[in-house]
Symmetry: C2
DNA sequence: CTCATTTGATTAACATGGTAATGATACAGC
DNA sequence: GCTGTATCATTACCATGTTAATCAAATGAG
């Protein structure tokens, strides 16, 4: 990711903020919980990021009329411009990794990591005996 | 790691702090740079952690007589007690992962990650064209 | 020896991870 | 319709990641 940061830094966007606006770019209007989930960001972090991203005009925030607790988020045209500017570099990073590490190995690596992560969820055979 | 945190939380020690005192437990007296390196912690973070760990009496800090810029760190008997109390749980976590995920696969996973990480260091074929 | 450079540590400033507490709205049961 | 509970978001608080700036000590060139 650190390869990637300079491009984002030029837009004053962190990697986490990038994930948020990219999710909104791809999915359209989403509520905050879905965004947090898809961007792997905790709720308290997202709250802070929403404030910052909205102040800078990258996203807009609305209350859900159907459920007053929920917050709906949407990317703005300014935000879209950033995504469209950064995306080519982003794709290049992944293409480069695929080329140099091997796409098949990348996939295998991700599979293993996912499986390892799911293992740890299944139970707690730890610290409770 | 989150499996591991309850045990550490009982001692009011974070995962990063655990890595620091474990390194010092195993290596004896070390200077700050080596500790930061072995525990994968950045210098500014380590500076803050030293303050906290020293205040609580888990480590001691001395100036290096041979090089006044360097700081030497050493675990105290209090710190040693914590390590000896937590270590069994720590080993259990790794043993559990080895058992459930497979020790060979764990090793393969670590190898792949190391190789991937080293790839990214070699150059920057990114963002500079 | 003196000065410029280098190196190690610290500080500062900001963003995020993480947990707990609080607030506000929905909702189920009565 | 009210009330207790559950759910979503926010706030508060602290630790760490991250970069840049600063400070102090060591080192090298002259």
């Amino acid at each position: 990711m650190s390869h990637f940061r300079p491009i984002l830094a030029a837009h004053d966007v962190t990697e986490q903020q990038w994930r948020v606006i990219r999710v909104l770019y791809e999915a359209g209007k989403l509520d905050a919980t879905e965004v947090a989930d898809k961007a792997s960001i905790l709720a308290p972090s997202l709250t802070r990021m929403i404030r910052s991203l909205e102040e800078r005009g990258f996203i807009s925030k609305h209350k859900d009329d159907a459920d007053g607790r929920r917050v709906l988020l949407q990317i703005t045209s300014t935000g879209r411009e950033i995504v469209e500017d950064v995306m080519p570099e982003s794709l290049k990073v992944y293409a480069d990794i695929d080329a140099r590490f091997g796409a098949a190995r990348v996939e295998r690596l991700l599979d293993m990591l996912e499986e390892l992560a799911s293992l740890k969820m299944e139970n707690g055979s730890l610290g409770e005996e």
